[in-house]
């Protein structure tokens, strides 16, 4: 089953709508609460990244009986140094974003911790695509 959402850049009030809707579907399917929680954390972080750093993006979630794969694709600046971005505490978020409580530099490491599989494709000046897989 496929669920799709558009994510607008800079709209922090709506950041989390997609992860919340995905959460709702998983709960209704009876997926174990601990797994739902990992999906929520990973997708929410990635969704906030799109809002905070990109020019906008699109989320596609495919739910299968064995697990969920979520692809979050944005157009934007891309990540110049993925290895650095994967370190805890590293952040390029602007002051404005940090003041809203986002951008503590925990995003990518947190996603990595909660996902069974994480792929990052990024091109500087074009955008970033995250593919997250979590087993049920």
């Amino acid at each position: 089953m496929r669920l799709e959402y558009d994510v607008a850049a800079g709209d922090f009030t709506r950041a989390g709508n997609a992860s919340s809707a995905i959460k709702k579907a998983l709960k209704q399917l009876g997926v174990a609460p601990a797994v739902v929680k990992r999906v929520v954390v990973a997708v929410y972080e990635a969704e906030v990244n799109i809002v905070a750093h990109s020019y906008g993006g699109h989320i596609t979630a495919d739910i299968e009986p064995e697990g969920i794969s979520v692809v979050l694709a944005d157009t934007g600046p891309g990540i110049p140094d993925v290895r650095k971005a994967m370190q805890k505490g590293f952040s390029t978020a602007s002051k404005e974003v940090r003041e809203m409580g986002f951008g503590a530099g925990m995003g990518l490491p947190n996603i990595q911790e909660n996902a069974d599989d994480l792929k990052i494709e990024t091109e500087v000046g074009k955008g970033t695509t995250l593919s997250i897989y979590i087993k049920f």
Partner: protein, 453 residues
């Protein structure tokens, strides 16, 4: 509908139900439908919050309480009275008169529920300090506990594993009786409840616990009895009451059932949230990991204004709360029984983990559930999305789920009926049949005409 595996504290009386659908709109778990002109309950989804009871215009929802005369099966009859009970009465009715009337009704001992709050405050603060995951969610309101079991299973390990005040107080009176050499079979401990969720909580408690409470008594019933006796001057003269009274309570205890009563006693940051919709909104955010600020403790109460807003409490909830605050203002910081409570109850204050009660919305088998959810998603696209409730379900989303579970049909939707009629695939008489199945035959009779004839 579904079989019932949990004690239900409320039930619909079909002979009184007029199928008005008010209840289906307020249920926080969408557990109600209208079918055949009557409200029906998916019992396993019900959390006993009582919102349906509150909005029912025909008093068709019955509180499943214990028969009052059961109290006479015990020789020593203790009534545990919550502070909100007294706060409902006009101030000129003396407390001793109320207690004497309760004595006349058959109680040997009248005790205040919130006596255990002083002991609990210390235990709660210790628990919160040692808690791994925060915020810790209060175990006070049974409707909220049941809401979390059914709708927020991923938050279940945040529930504080300490008993609520009523159970600690009940344990105290049981221990005291046993230590005094009393025969356990002769002691009856009764709880005068301001809400129906507490009936369910006593009858089928969570956390591997068995309540020592022998019976739960409806506060509404006793309020009327007491007021009637008072108005007719049917109460003993001063000093002639037969009951003994244990009403020592601190200001903490008196404020405990009010919104903020718990939160104000917590060391650290605590929020108090009352009203089912507010509680749900916050729990959704917490579950979505969107609450980034550190919070130590959540006092969550299902009713507006907490226990003064309980559905079995008479009188306006704001006035009841204000009366209680006024009494608390002149009450001591702690009470004479507090130390004894500590000794008697510290071993009994903990409970085991609370189990989730999963809400099977589509199917237990995830393969089937995904297919059904996909079908429901397609149905959502053709349903009008205005949640009118004319199909007997509370929302288009609920109808879509009902259709894929084969509990309803697409024809139940009046918009779909109009479309099918326009397309010529449905006759007017068929459409009327369909609506009669949901709302009953009486709804489609022209009453004005039949009366004038």
């Amino acid at each position: 509908m579904e079989h019932n595996t949990f004690h239900k504290a409320l039930e619909i009386q079909p002979e009184l139900c007029i199928g008005c659908s008010h209840c289906i709109k307020v249920c926080p778990t969408e557990a109600l439908r209208v079918s055949g002109g009557k409200a029906l309950l998916y019992a396993d989804w019900c959390i006993d919050c009582g919102r349906c009871f509150r909005v029912c215009p025909s008093r068709a929802i019955r509180v499943v309480d214990d028969d009052f005369d059961n109290i006479f099966s015990y020789r020593h009859r203790v009534l545990l009275v919550p502070a909100v009970f007294y706060a409902q009465f006009e101030k000129r009715i003396p407390r001793r008169v109320i207690n004497d009337i309760l004595g006349d009704m058959g109680f040997s001992e009248v005790c205040t529920v919130e006596q255990s709050a002083d002991t609990l405050v210390e235990e709660i603060n210790g628990y919160v300090r040692g808690a791994g995951e925060k915020p810790v969610i209060s175990s006070f309101c049974p409707a909220v506990i049941r809401l979390i079991q059914v709708r927020f299973p991923s938050l279940i390990d945040r529930i504080m594993l300490l008993l609520p005040p009523i159970e600690v107080t009940a344990q105290y009176y049981v221990r005291r009786w046993q230590m005094g050499g009393g025969d356990p079979a002769e002691l009856g401990v009764f709880y005068l409840t301001p809400c129906i969720a507490k009936i369910a909580a006593v009858k089928s408690p969570v956390g591997g616990y068995e309540s020592p409470i022998s019976g739960v008594i409806n506060m509404d019933y006793v309020y009327n009895k007491v007021l009637h006796a008072y108005k007719n001057k049917k109460y003993p003269e001063e000093g002639m009451g037969t009951e003994s009274v244990n009403d020592a309570v601190s200001s903490k205890g008196l404020l405990w059932p009010l919104t903020g009563g718990e939160a104000s006693q917590i060391e650290g940051r605590a929020l108090s949230i009352d009203g089912m919709s507010n509680v749900i909104e916050f729990l959704e955010k917490l579950e979505d990991e969107e609450i980034e600020e550190p919070i130590d403790y959540l006092e969550l109460r299902g009713c507006d204004e907490s226990c003064p807003g309980g559905i079995l409490v008479q009188g306006n909830r704001f006035l009841v709360a204000d009366n209680l605050r006024e009494v608390a203002a002149s009450a001591p910081d702690t009470h004479i029984k507090a130390e004894e409570y500590k000794r008697f109850c510290s071993a009994y204050i903990k409970m085991d983990a609370v189990e989730p009660r999963s809400m099977v919305k589509y199917d237990k088998d995830i393969n089937v559930a995904i297919k059904k959810m996909e079908m429901a998603g397609m149905l959502r696209k053709i349903l009008p999305d205005i949640d009118c409730g004319a199909c007997g379900a509370p929302s288009c989303e609920a109808l879509a789920a009902d259709i894929v579970r084969e509990d309803a049909s697409l024809n139940n939707c009046i918009f779909m009926q109009a479309r099918f009629e326009k397309e010529g695939s449905l006759q007017v008489s068929e459409a009327i049949d369909l609506m009669e199945q949901v709302w009953g035959k009486d709804r489609f009779v022209n009453k004005e005409k039949s009366e004038s004839e």
